[in-house]
Symmetry: D2
């Protein structure tokens, strides 16, 4: 198998920074040193560039059925786009169908990914019904299948929402089997009442998506989920935290010493509810749940990242087209029917570098931590993934810290006909991306093999020190 | 110059863990890799051992004048003891004499250390008088002398204590010159009143040292120092934080996003005020300021370490003998005359491993962080010190995680006739210690040259991401 | 109609204290002055005694159907007991039956009380189903029937529990109609799961009632109810708050300026979970929901009373006999079948005086406030009730501050065969009790007419300044 | 002596509201009742009006020496103005001169007031030096002189400021003698440094008075004073609290159960730092300490009033003329030389009614409480003052709730040539004011005798329930 030598780069890990060359054998980092002069099949000159662990996107929805339609990126287009953005692993959400067990769901999602994904992937499992049999399957998932995390929804009554007792039983399960419960924390009952009120008033435009999901509905649900986890003695992971009300609950929990983790997403750090005021149906581009928030939440979230109350920045990548096909149009006359979600798998690292590191809000180490090392640790991928270390998979992004990119649906690689950041100019972007030692993206072109990604079995267990 | 190869060890950094060999040239790490087969003058087999950055002790008082006496360890005995304990750098406190400038103080302390210290050392500066001339010298210290931190005392009225206005002007200075103010945070005025009351009641025994310095005197002073720093727009470092009242102030400050850092010490994590109830004059062994606290503060401090409200564990090593010579006896009839301080430079890492990592309170990465990486970053020593990285000084401790040691004045190397932890059995201890690639301690024996330590100029600047 | 003159007493109101005589005409206070010499049908000498507003018990369950049985006090025995204890008004909970409207429920409860009650009474309404029709009835209750408060249960799934959306719609209703939502705040879903687990383990004794309803289940539900009220923009009243976790939620809400009120009960101030360790089935006497808590919650609740985070002390009087008849025995082999509730309507003022005023935890003004004036203001009875003021109903308790009473089922007047405080000696008790100017209790004997109590229509509207 | 009958009014106390007539004999309330038909020397028709306890102003500086000048109101002009505004008692600050004892200070201030004041008055004592002898005098003041409160300054270094040890010793004294320490809480040392910096930059205009006393200097000092009081186990009273930073400290203290009280003033509720931007030297009118704050602090303070974190609204009345004589001009070229203070003794109740009760921020009961009942209780005047109760002094304000008044120096009665609220129209004002049963103000005219006010000896002891 081939060898790779990355020369003259500056290595950035979650804690350290140093100039060194990296040598890769059989897809694994074997040597780190000064001025290595070893024969290599591929030599990459990283002068002036940073060598960082490839991004891990802990929250994606590729090829996901949603009512009559499907999220517009499949595992091929989605992972190619991810790679373009410097992400080398995704953890996608497999979904239990009503009446179905967890194994068929896992098989279905594996089927979607195999031969399609170009980078490595793993799965969380969405639990919609927790029968005694499903509870047994949760153990099997954790112990035998490498699926160690389970999402429960507090929103979407009648579709995905489960009641508190179900979540609580799920938490008792993971307390015992070493798994981790992930929570979509919004109070679905209250939101439903607000949506019904809005529709009764004929408030049907996209912006009412936001007004009917006020921050406190997320804050309440987050606090409730934390209370359930504390009662169960189980760790907890809050997905796509978007507002200070929810963050405050996480902060209090962590101040008490609870094993509560939370993720936010670039959209909550860089976009605000002002987008819903765009003219016509344009606001539909930003219909996702939780919705975009008032701008003042952004700095609160950055504070949460700095204080490690937020450990992960993921994307909740779940794209639907505006026109081709007209997926978002389903809610033309009723905001509540707009498919929820937006694209983000490709732009995460660029946005976080430009808006986080370049602005001084975080340093490069924290950038690596929240985009790669911490998700790897929380979800049982580390140290195989998420580290630049001898023996780790050579999933690397060679980063050009000054490269200027204009974000646009036209030039990005996600299969969706708009981009939420259309026209935004960012500085800092991948120069070369390696997956297990294979150069997959080079100077803006995908150069890897098709369908080369592998399913990664994750390891259960609560991460210390996070 | 000689080369060293450390084989088969497991490297632990503040964020990562991996099996690799380390190659050292000219005192610097040059290569990290799997199964290195390179010629080396010294080969160390680290099978089953951990290779970690050597400890950095950010708070020592070696050869320190104190009234009529001097702390009992000088730079030779103190640094030999430090090395035995796995610490490879100390930052000692030079003290401005009344009426004196800062340069003479620095020269005096350099004179004490040069040719004596066996590991590398740097200096903080204690400021007792802040005239306009001294303010100019603060700039010179930061810019030209590599002394980038300045301690002010809120305690010890008539001796070291300065008023709020002085601290505030010191903060304005460091805000501008990139330095860092360190604070001994206890309300000296209140404590003095309480001490006078106690002596009036003839409460003269060592235990009244603790009752006259209640936690709130530290909590108040800590909050006040933080307010001054916030008003000045300057970063702040709280030394030897001992109690939950003070920690709460730090937590609030950090939740607000202020650049406030704090250190605690093993004595506050492992010893309690119960020690003052020992019979006779034995309590004098534990007379230090702040005093030991009620046991419930300990878990609060561990929580602070986990939450990164406390970034540093240092020692405040400042030993005085009980009998030979009878230094502590000065306070036989008046606790307020007992020299304040206790030994700790040698036992820090062993205590933190045994009581922190082995108990599950922190993981090995956090251990490295608080004992080495974070102090290096906060005090401008990183990445030369505090990291295992290509290009960093090879200051390393090869750690035996299961080695059992009985702490005792008889076998430890500090020059003091008692040990606060006498008889305590700990697991986890240095096997071999390297300073700039020189093996200085091997299997319990000091094997380095005498006086080999070097003065390290520190680099100003606020650490991002801490 | 008759006149009454109370001479030489010391009047205590929620804010003032002064020596004065009180003259009553037609059941109403008409004159307050020094040394009144007016002709009166009845002259009471209150020398050395305190004259205070009669107690208002805002939470009772008289003659309440509960499964196969009924709470053991009816409106006659219960209100006679109340009067003996110095309480002159009760607000009882009428309960909507499934499928029933609110009007029939009100009529049913009026039927239970009329001709039975010996003191004045009003009704809250328990809402179990909130159809559109019931929502209309809520308006009618507030506007036409003098029933201005509605309780919703977050506990007892399958029986009384409603979901968040229902509570939220109830809050929107009261926001608009000036009513007030009362909440039983315990997370029924989690409790059910814990109860099922306990029964599966054959943990069937009364003490498992407490372990399966941990404080956090109440804290969570309280916080959730507050969030729903904040989202709805409606005031909220938490019934029988029992623990510091719930109190903390109320405190935060009130610090934010929300109109959140809360009541606690003597049992949570004077009894603890230790009662459940009594031998045999004795613990069943203390089976109520929320359950008794660990002793440390008591001082937190007293703090809440002092800080006005708790405005009301009511009883949740809901007695069931141990033996005659064996009501509590229903849960002999399964704690979850023990009827929930305990007697308290008679002992409230004596306990609060003895344990509150005499211990210095509160002063006599706060005693009047929490037992009478504040509930009157919150529930729309003031200033007709809850005040010593010209024009107010002469509902008065003439209090002997030093009278010693031994609490015992044998001597108290509630129709139940045990007392939770059996044998406790308290100081401070009613000497004479007047209801609308009628002496109803005199020196321990009921001397009023039978069935003399009247239904009081309450006035909607949010109380300012509470 | 004469009798007075007030007919047809509505009585408002801190807790109650009712229609009743009030009969006054020998200056004391003797009878309260419906439609009293008693012979009276004076009959007042209060139809449509409210009868409330006269205001108590717990913070005034009448005839106060300040450098080369004196506050412009003496005890005659000041108390006449107070009476016009509905205030019937003032507690003025007597000041210990350097080197002087407390008795001479008390005699001096009594001399200033006797024969001058037209309403009753009491004194606090400002302590500048706390020698052992002065400590003894503190006891004598409390026990024999009716002076039960002592103010210490944390600001004005070199003039009034004392150090922490002095305050702490003062607190230990009052802990033992039942007195109360009042604190001017601003960090004088930091402020001095900021003032010096400002003057060095030639920032000499009035607005720099505010920028050199930022809120955190008050927040810090407040927290420090509270810590000292907690350490001493003594109650504490914070004067003229102006900002949310300070309020937060008080809130935390009270949440802990500490006996900490605080006062704010109308200027902090109704005026903001924007006044300092007035053109020319106009800002000098608003130079007081603490300075006016940014507008957002106002709602925080109102929240504090509602939550009872602030118990008292006083004035800190300390007027200096702008032109005649040019007292404020002393600081024409140096803001730090502007005499600190502004007039307010006459406008307090009108502002609080108009801006508090009429806006719905507080109800009329809370209005009575913060302007009269609570200060009376805290400072040992109650129930002689601060209550409408049989036996209490007939210090009453008969209030016209709708009367419109335009505040203006031209029509108000304070001896000062400007008014901070010039032109503001308020609704709600005194119709008639009685002091010990004497009508002193009637329909806008002072009709009382000259010098009729009496010195009131206050009673030590901590108020329960506040």
């Amino acid at each position: 198998m081939s060898t790779v030598l990355i020369r003259n780069g500056t290595i950035i890990t979650a804690s350290d920074r140093y100039a060194a060359d990296v040598y890769i054998e059989r897809g694994v980092i074997s040597l780190i040193g000064r001025e290595l002069s070893l024969p290599a099949d591929t030599v990459i000159d990283a002068s002036g560039l940073l060598v960082m662990p490839g991004g891990i996107d802990a929250h994606t929805h590729l090829d996901m059925p949603a009512g009559d339609t499907t999220s517009s990126d499949d595992f091929e287009t989605g992972t190619v786009a991810a790679a373009h953005g410097g992400t080398t692993t995704v953890i996608d959400y497999a979904t239990q169908a009503p009446g179905q067990g967890l194994h068929p769901a896992l098989e279905a999602w594996k089927g979607r990914a195999e031969g399609q994904a170009v980078i490595d992937y793993a799965f969380h499992m969405i639990v919609r019904e927790l029968t005694d049999q499903v509870a047994i399957e949760m153990d099997q998932m954790v112990r035998h299948e490498g699926v160690t995390s389970f999402k429960f929804f507090m929103a979407y009554p009648g579709v995905l929402m489960v009641d508190d007792a179900t979540i609580f039983r799920g938490l008792l399960k993971t307390r015992d089997n070493g798994g981790l419960v992930c929570i979509h924390a919004e109070n679905g009952g209250v939101i439903n009442a607000l949506v019904n009120e809005a529709l009764r008033r004929r408030d049907i435009a996209p912006r009412f998506h936001a007004t009917t999901r006020p921050p406190l509905t997320e804050g309440e649900a987050t606090a409730r989920a934390i209370a359930l986890a504390e009662l169960a003695g189980a760790p907890l992971y809050i997905v796509h935290l978007s507002c200070s009300e929810a963050l405050e609950g996480v902060r209090r929990a962590r101040d008490k010493g609870l094993a509560v983790y939370a993720e936010t997403c670039p959209q909550y750090l860089f976009l605000s509810a002002a987008e819903y005021d765009r003219e016509g149906f344009e606001g539909a581009k930003y219909v996702m749940s939780p919705p975009l928030r008032a701008a003042q939440h952004q700095e609160a979230l950055w504070g949460g990242i700095r204080r490690n109350d937020l450990q992960v920045v993921a994307t909740d990548h779940c794209p639907f087209c505006m026109e081709e096909p007209p997926q978002k149009q389903a809610g033309k006359d009723d905001f509540s029917k707009i498919p929820n979600g937006a694209p983000g798998i490709e732009t995460r690292l660029m946005l976080m570098w430009d808006g986080g590191v370049r602005t001084g809000r975080i340093d490069a180490h924290r950038f690596v931590d929240i985009t790669s090392t911490s998700p790897a640790k929380i979800f049982g991928l580390w140290p195989q993934k998420g580290a630049i270390a001898v023996g780790a998979d050579a999933d690397l992004v060679i980063w050009h810290p000054e490269k200027e990119v204009t974000l646009s649906a036209a030039t990005l690689h996600m299969r969706v006909d708009y981009n939420p950041y259309e026209g935004r100019v960012v500085r800092g972007a991948p120069s070369t991306v390696l997956s297990r030692g294979d150069v997959v993206v080079d100077d803006g072109a995908y150069v890897g093999a098709r369908g080369r990604g592998r399913f990664i079995r994750r390891v259960p267990g609560r991460p210390a020190g996070l």
